[in-house]
Symmetry: C2
Subunit: 191 residues, 2 copies
């Protein structure tokens, strides 16, 4: 949140920014901002605040964005294609290495030049390139089977974009993002 | 989470489920499960637990899934198309009414039969159909402008799938879901 806020500031503005300005921009208290940024940076100075570019670098390095990590997309329907074609992952230190699917009609290159390969190649691909991050966007009914294949292929970090509840082994971390449920909560004002 | 877990249980199993079984399935404590479900349902009985179908209905009604709400998609690139074509929103009480874009090459019907209309029609469409929910998936640089048009069109609840930080009026609620940032956090093990 801090990073995307700082990056959204207009070019050519002042080189520094105060914690008060960041707090106002993000709707947080100044105390919260100082506390959060203290774990990332020690460059804030009284009356000057933070040098914006330095703070951006420190946040990026804290978040690990400097080490590009490869990830794979499992399930290349509309959503999988959208993710493979999205150009914004690089800024967050992520590269989509390839997509995988069981349907041979989607094999080949996407618009953005990413390869879609058969699921049978997932394990050898991930082993060969040392990939342990995957995005799951298969149909709900195929989610557990596809997830099991990902774990077998050595993938430890899974972003689950399906609505399925996955049974996971202990050495795997899953982050569930169910867009339909998030939208329903928003629409029903439950948070 | 409870709802998707209960819906994922195999068909033809027992009609009831204990809070202990739900707790084990979701990796929560039994006390937490009882506490959470107490605000939704009063049908749990000692030794029987919950009647699964009744609990599903109570959760759906609590979450407002019984009243279908219309929503619009603003920005119909790959991600916008994926959302318009996704068939899983109905289960969560949401109907994608139409998509909007500034690029006339995407106007027309999507694979799933949803209309993509020009942005200039957004306000009249939302007014006419009483729509106040929108999903924003334009390019980052166009996000604030598109968001302002959504607010002008009467949209109060916005799911922001762009990485942009939006300046919002007080009577609007934004839920930010930055998939790249979520993936980066997961990959860097920050949560």
């Amino acid at each position: 949140m801090y990073l995307s806020y700082l990056k959204s500031l207009p070019q050519g503005g002042p080189a520094n920014i105060s914690s008060a300005a960041i707090a106002a921009g993000l709707g947080l208290s100044e105390i919260q901002v100082r506390k959060d940024l203290a774990s990332v940076s020690d460059i804030g100075k009284p009356k000057i605040g933070y040098i914006t570019d330095e703070l951006i670098s420190e946040l990026e390095s804290y978040l690990g964005y400097n080490n590009i990590k490869d990830a794979v997309v499992v399930g290349c329907g509309s959503l999988g294609h959208a993710i493979l074609n999205y150009t914004g992952f690089g800024e967050y230190g992520i590269n989509m290495a390839a997509g995988f699917d069981v349907d041979d009609s989607v094999f080949g290159e996407t618009k953005a030049g990413k390869n879609i390969l058969p699921m049978s190649k997932l394990a050898s691909f991930c082993t060969c390139f040392g990939i342990n991050i995957g995005i799951l966007c298969v149909p709900e009914s195929a989610a557990q089977t596809a997830y099991n294949l990902m774990v077998d292929a050595g993938i430890r970090f899974v972003l689950n974009l399906t609505p399925a509840h996955l049974n996971a082994p202990r050495n795997s971390e899953i982050k569930n993002v169910n867009i339909a449920a998030i939208l329903a909560e928003l629409a029903n004002h439950q948070f």
